[in-house]
Amino acid sequence: MSEPSKIVKTIASIIFPFTMVFGIYVILHGHLTPGGGFQGGAIVASGIVLLLVAFGSAEIAKRVKESHLSILESIGALSFISLALLGLSTTFFYNFLAGSNFIFGRIPPFGSNPGDMNTGGVLPLMNISVGLKVIAGLSAIVLVLSLFARSRKQRKR
């Protein structure tokens, strides 16, 4: 299979920032709108995979190492578990930030409202850590697969 054409590369580099912004929006608004950590992470990872398909795995593997993605994934899992453990003075997964007027700590107004970003307590932070883990995991899967396919093809030649 030949190298992707200039049209594919140009369209991919135009669409990529919009995909990133939409994915991060879905992650950050996980406690207000449909979506959350997994959905937003899948969108961001699909943007990275778009670059991987358009520009080839060799170009991306120069900038993103698989070990870096592995570190990012571990950071996501560890921050999720440590946020759950921080509420252990009451129960596991206790929402200790809600109503504390600290970060994400405001109490939402009563009745129907457009939605306040600064609410939810510990849930947005957990959405962010799940999003980090999903981004790193899904991109690492496709990156390793593409590198393996490429090395296998070179060996055949």
């Binding site: 299979m1 979506g35 997994f38 995979v49 697969l145």
Partner: protein
């Protein structure tokens, strides 16, 4: 007939049609793209059934990541007509 009911009848038919196209196509790359189309229509159907959460996950994972994995797998193979 209201618009929503028409959509709810037409969309499953289109999903089944694109799934049949996936099986019928001989070219593997074209079949992978048809599978992505089927996944996209399925996510639209999830949205029509009031499950936007599942629709976003299906659009991200089914339409994009699965297609990319299939394309990389097809890249590592060779067409039978080209000989060896």
């Amino acid at each position: 007939m209201p618009f929503q009911e028409i959509i709810n009848i037409v969309l499953p038919l289109m999903i089944v049609a694109s799934a049949v196209i996936v099986v019928a196509l001989k070219d593997l790359l074209a079949a992978a793209i048809a599978l992505a189309v089927m996944s996209l229509l399925l996510s639209l159907e999830f949205y029509m059934l009031h499950a936007p959460d599942v629709a976003i996950a299906e659009a991200g994972v089914g339409a994009c990541l699965t297609t990319a994995i299939l394309i990389f797998a097809i890249k590592a193979t060779r067409r039978m007509e080209d000989g060896r």
